[in-house]
């Protein structure tokens, strides 16, 4: 069984947000609630500030704190290493959102981040929180795929509706291999500078394994012990700590 993981080469990433847009379209995300986001940071201060950016999907941790704290086992880990939510079991207590060090979980029943409220435009029917005119993946509540129902938490699934259909033993899901292209996660598929790689971390011959090994891939917030399955390459893989703006601190 594969252990799916992602590598993001920060030296190649241009911060174009094509990955975020593709993810939104693929997974019917609400505006502003991006499973996949590119975060921007300013390093250094005036007169030499430097803008940095940082692509951030769910880290699909090996040892996910969100899963451990879930009081209903709604958050679970698949055999192929993906952290998913069973929406049929989620009670919406939001403890997982509290426990995720990467802030990559979303609750749908909250004020819209961007006006107008798209949920008022495309009102949900039944349990679904909204009803977009285009629906991407087939609804699969047991794996947290599709339109988010009311009162539950959702997160990036590594496009589980795609990768779970990949042929067994595939070392890499890459655009360059036409045979598996349709199984490639949306953010990887659409990355123009090919800064993203997706494959089997347990397979020493996969490209992700080689990249991590040869270029010293790093993981985010290692001290939390969550052991992300998303690795970063490049010399600015360190995110500065939180600081309040000068006028407020």
């Amino acid at each position: 069984m594969a252990k799916w993981g992602m590598v993001i080469d920060l030296a190649k990433c241009t911060g174009c947000q094509a990955c975020s847009t593709a993810c939104q379209m693929e997974n019917n995300r609400l505006p502003g609630e991006n499973y996949q986001d590119v975060l921007y940071y300013t390093e250094f201060k005036q007169p030499t500030p430097s803008l940095k950016w940082f692509p951030r999907p769910c880290m699909q941790c090996e040892n996910p704190s969100c899963m451990h704290v879930c009081p209903t086992k709604a958050t679970f880990k698949t055999e192929d290493g993906v952290v998913l939510i069973d929406w049929n079991k989620c009670i919406g207590c939001k403890y997982c959102m509290i426990a995720c060090p990467y802030g990559v979980r979303f609750y749908t029943d909250e004020k819209p981040l961007i006006e107008p409220n798209i949920k008022d435009v495309f009102k949900g029917t039944g349990e679904l929180s909204w009803n977009p005119p285009y629906k991407g993946p087939q609804q699969d509540n047991a794996h947290g795929v599709g339109i988010q129902p009311h009162g539950v938490v959702s997160k990036c699934t590594f496009c589980y509706h795609k990768i779970s259909k990949a042929p067994k033993g595939t070392p890499d899901l890459s655009n360059e291999n036409a045979a598996v292209r349709e199984y490639v996660p949306a953010c990887v598929r659409t990355c123009a500078p090919t800064a993203r790689y997706f494959g089997d971390l347990d397979n020493p011959n996969s490209e992700v394994s080689r990249l991590i090994s040869n270029r010293r891939g790093t993981r985010l917030l290692e001290h939390t012990g969550n052991k992300p399955q998303v690795y970063y390459l490049g010399d600015h893989g360190v995110v500065p700590g939180f600081e309040r703006p000068d006028d407020k601190s």
């Binding site: 009081p71 207590c93 009162g151 995110v239």
Partner: protein, 387 residues
Amino acid sequence: MSSTIQAVHCPECISRVSNLRLGVGAVGLILGLIAIAGLLSGGHETFNTNSNLSWGLPVSTYVFFVLTSTGLTFVASLAMVFGMKDFYPIAKRCVWGAVVTLIIGFISLGLEIGNPLRMIWVIPTNFAISSPMWWMGLFYTIYMVLLIWKFILINKGDWDSDQSKLIGLASFVAVIFAHATLGSVFGMMAMRPFWYGPMVPVYFLITAFLSGLAFIMFFINLDYGVDQKNMSEGAARAMSKQLPTIFGVALGLVIVFTLAKTITGLWTNVPENKIVTQYIVSSALFQYELWIGMVLPFLMMLTKMRHDAKMQVVAGGLVVSALFIGRYEYVVGGQLIPMFKGAWFDDLTPYVPSMTEIGVVVLAVSIGILLYAYGDKKLNLSDAPNQ
């Protein structure tokens, strides 16, 4: 030990206060229902919580009231578990108060959760033993069952049978575990340094005890028309002598804890703790909580004022308000720093409770007031065993 009706010197005072409570509870219930009408139509979108700050006022209210329930059980246990007979005259009120405050907490939490009804079958069937919240649910459920069982027994006059003693002891043990697991829900979150720490369950233990004592000082005096002459002799003795002393000691400990936590927070090199502590300390709410809500009542308890019913009501009320603010600061404070949002959120997460959230609290508290008034009218809360 058989039960006797204690000689309450002014039953009509209790009746008057109960009627007043029924009125206040009914008005509050209507206001609360109006305020949460939005919840029925607009769901949790009417809350001001969001994906960065997921737990707001209803959760801090839950924490406040379930810990108050813990404290009231502790005080009742002084008589019913540890044999301190002077506390028997207020024990039944404490047990009923513990039931009521627990219900207030559960209502507040139930209206905050996305799928509260699903909780009934999903939590017991999935045995998520790695989750502190699962254990918290388990122990609070056991505690609630035992507490109600104990109340039924003492309401029948069975204060001291082997069964009654055992249930009292079991409910005391259950609430120790319940409050400790609630502390772990917050204290085990290493990714949120403002909450993280092994002392959180201990902090909850002491503040819970204080919370229960403050409720007694405030509400039991009100029950008897703010005059200890209206109480039975036993109740008046407990309220004028032992309780204010214990209340003062617990308050002193909580002040030390609060100062230690604040000073450590201001001097730490962990930014998530330091920035939040600085933010909280600079707020008027914190200054009120510390100086008016804790230091002032502590000074009052050092003087002879501690024996006076009116002063006890003032001190108890101030401490209740301070602890409520403290719970709110604690729950919200742990989420003020946005998790990994970069320049999308370049400052602390803003949060002010919405009218619906305030309505949830008003509704839950009003139901509690009505239940307590019902107890006063129908359940003979001044009862105590014949010693």
